[in-house]
Symmetry: C2
Subunit: 353 residues, 2 copies
C-alpha cells in the first residue's frame, strides 16, 4: 500500500529546512538522496522558508498561497521547526498539523528499529523491529476544543476527540496490509477502550471486522498504559502497531527512546492515495541548543528520506539507504564523535558505492 508504479524520472521535492538543526540535517538528507538516485532520475528541490524564523519576521506560519504551491510537489522533506520564542501551539497548529490535515496524511508511519551499536536505555538490548501506524487526521488533534469563561475561576476547557468510521477504517486497513507484508504478520491495536468506550468501540470493532479479511495476520489488543509497559519490558512482542493520533504520538516517542534515541527516529506523514504530497521528517525537534555545533545526528532525516523514496516507488534505493545506515552504525568506531556533515558524507558514500 502507498507505493505507485515508478514512472516519472524526476522527483519534484519541496524542502522545508526549518529552524535550529533542521537545515543541517536536511542538507545531509538531500546529499544522501542525490547519491542514491540513479543518474537518470533528476532530483528537483524547491525550498520553502517556513518555521520560527519566518514567523518572527512576518507573523506568518503558512499562507494559503504556499499551501497551494506545496500541493504540486511529489513529496515534502521537512527538517524541524520551532524555537523557544514561539508560543506553544503556533507552529504546531499553524504549520505542522495544518499540513498533515490539509494533505490528509492519515498514515503517520514511524518505524522503530534497534540498530547495532546504538545506545538503548534498556538493559540487555532486546530485539526491536516494529512499525507504528499512527492515525494522522483525527482524534484529539482535530482542534475541536474551546474554553468558556477563560481566565476566570469558572473556566471550563474542553478538547474533543473525533473518530470516524471512515477515518479509522482506512488507517486500520493500511496497517493490516503492512502487517501482511512483513515476516512477523502481527498487528497490535493500542487504545483505551475500557475508558474511552465510544471511540474505543469504533476502533476495536473496525479492527476485528477488517481483520477477518487478513486471516494470516495475528492480532492483539493492548490498552495504551499496558503498551508502554511492554515497550520497555518486551518490545520484541511488537511487529505492527496501529493506534490513534494521540496514543501514537506518545508511544512513538517512547519507542524512539528505547530504540537508539530520538536522533534515529524517522517518520512519514503519508497520504497513501497520493492525492496530495506526503511529508517526511525526523521525529526530533529543532534542538536550538546544539544548532550550528555540528553535533546533530542527521540519521533520522536520512532514514526519513528512505521512507520518502519507498513511498514514491524507489524501493531498491530506499533499501540501500536503510542498509547503509545499518552498516554505518555497526562499523563506526566507538568513542569517536562524528559531525553532522561527516555522518552525511559517510552515508552518501555508502549508498553511492
Amino acid at each position: 500500500s502507498g507505493t505507485a508504479p515508478r514512472t516519472e524520472r524526476t522527483i519534484d521535492l519541496a524542502v522545508i529546512p526549518g529552524d535550529g538543526i533542521g537545515p543541517e540535517v536536511v542538507a545531509q538528507g538531500l546529499k544522501v538522496l542525490t547519491a542514491v538516485l540513479p543518474q537518470d532520475v533528476k532530483l528537483e528541490t524547491h525550498e520553502y522558508d517556513l518555521g520560527a524564523k519566518r514567523w518572527h519576521a512576518t507573523g506568518e506560519t503558512l499562507t494559503d498561497e504556499e499551501l497551494e504551491r506545496l500541493k504540486a510537489h511529489d513529496a515534502i522533506l521537512l527538517g524541524a521547526v520551532g524555537d523557544p520564542g514561539v508560543p506553544s501551539g503556533v507552529l504546531e497548529r499553524g504549520l505542522l498539523l495544518k499540513l498533515r490535515f490539509a494533505f490528509d496524511h492519515f498514515v503517520n508511519l514511524r518505524p522503530s528499529k534497534l540498530f547495532p551499536n546504538t545506545t538503548s536505555p534498556l538493559a540487555g538490548r532486546p530485539e526491536i523491529d516494529f512499525v507504528v501506524v499512527r492515525e494522522g487526521t483525527e482524534g484529539l488533534y482535530v482542534g475541536n476544543g474551546g474554553s468558556v469563561r477563560k481566565g476566570t475561576p469558572q473556566e471550563v476547557a474542553n478538547e474533543v476527540s473525533v473518530n470516524t468510521a471512515f477515518g479509522v477504517e482506512r488507517v486500520v486497513r493500511d496497517a493490516y496490509a503492512r502487517a501482511q507484508s512483513r515476516p512477523g504478520k502481527k498487528l497490535t491495536l493500542v487504545h483505551k477502550n475500557n475508558v474511552l468506550v465510544h471511540a474505543g468501540h469504533l476502533w476495536k470493532d473496525t479492527f476485528d471486522r477488517v481483520g477477518r479479511e487478513y486471516p494470516e495476520v495475528t492480532t492483539d489488543y493492548l490498552h495504551v498504559d499496558a503498551a508502554t509497559i511492554f515497550l520497555v519490558t518486551d518490545p520484541a512482542r511488537f511487529d505492527v502497531i496501529v493506534t490513534d493520533n494521540l496514543f501514537g504520538d506518545i508511544i512513538t516517542d517512547l519507542a524512539a527512546a528505547v530504540s537508539g534515541g530520538i536522533g534515529l527516529a524517522a517518520s512519514g506523514n503519508i497520504n497513501p492515495t497520493r492525492e496530495f504530497p506526503s511529508m517526511f521528517e525526523p521525529v526530533h525537534g529543532s534542538a536550538p541548543d546544539i544548532a550550528g555545533t555540528g553535533k546533530a545526528d542527521p540519521t533520522a532525516t536520512v532514514l526519513s528520506a528512505a521512507l520518502l523514496l519507498r513511498h514514491l516507488g524507489y524501493e531498491a534505493e530506499a533499501e540501500r539507504i536503510d542498509e547503509a545506515v545499518s552498516a554505518d552504525l555497526a562499523e563506526r568506531s566507538a568513542g569517536t564523535a562524528r559531525s553532522t556533515d561527516e555522518i552525511g558524507d559517510a552515508l552518501a558514500a555508502r549508498v553511492a558505492g
Copy 2:
C-alpha cells in the same frame, strides 16, 4: 496536605478484595496493617463483594445502596477487579471510576521508587524516586462521549476531555504542597499544550499562577511524549509530577514498569478534603492467570496500605511499612521465589518488630 490529626482510635475500613489475585494480596495488606498498628488502635474491616464474580452472578457492578454504605467508612482498600469474561468498560465505568467520581478522588497518587534488589528494564539502574499526582475526576475520564450512526460506515464517535479551573487548580495546589514538602522541591507539569491548546492553556496557566505562591519549588514543563522519553532515559530528573487523568494513567504504568514493575506499584485515590473515603489499591490488575498459585506479589498492596495510613494520619506506621518493604527487598536472597503469603508474613514480622 491530605493528612488529618490522628484522633480516632478505630479505623473503619471497607475492603473490596475483588477477583483473581485481588483477595490474595488484600489478605496480606490487612495482615501488615494489623501488625503495624498500635495495640490500642482497632482495625475494623467490612468486606464488599464487588467485581467480576459479583457481576457474573447478579449483573450488578455497584448499587446505590452500596455506594451509600461505602461512604461511611474511613477508607477503602481494594485488591483488583475483573476477569476476561466481563466486557471491557463494565467494571471500569461501573465500579472503579464510579467510586473515584462519586467520592471525588481528585488526587490519584502514585509514587515510583526503584527499591534495592528489584529488577528494572533500564540499564544501569538509575535513581528513581518520584511521585505522580494524577488528576482523578476530570479530563477524558468523565464519560462525556458518544456515537452517532453507530455501526454504520458513517459512524462518528467522540470523546470529550473536560477540564475545569476548579478541578485543575485543586490538584495543582496539592502537587505543589507535596513538592514543597520533599527534599527535591521540584514539580513537573506534564501535558500536551502544543496540541490540546485549550485544556493545555488552563493547565499551564494554573500551574504558573499557583507556582508563584511556592517560590522554593522549581518548576518544569514537559509534553507527555517527551516525558515518556525522560522516564526511560533520565528518570532521576523527576521529583513530583502533576498531570491530567489520561496522561497520568499512561505515565504511571510506564513509571511502574521502570521502577521494579507493576507488582510494586501502589496507588491512592485520594479525596484530600476527607469529605468522602479515599481508596487505596495496587496499580496491577486481577491477573487471573496466576490466581491461586501463590505467585502474586502483595508488595504493591502493602505499599498502598502505607499510603492509606499516611492519609489517615498514621505517618509513623506508614513509614514503618515503607522501610519494611525496602529492607525486605534488599535482604531477600536472589533466586528464591517466595509465595504471596511468605512475603506478607515477612513484612508483617518486620513492621511488628
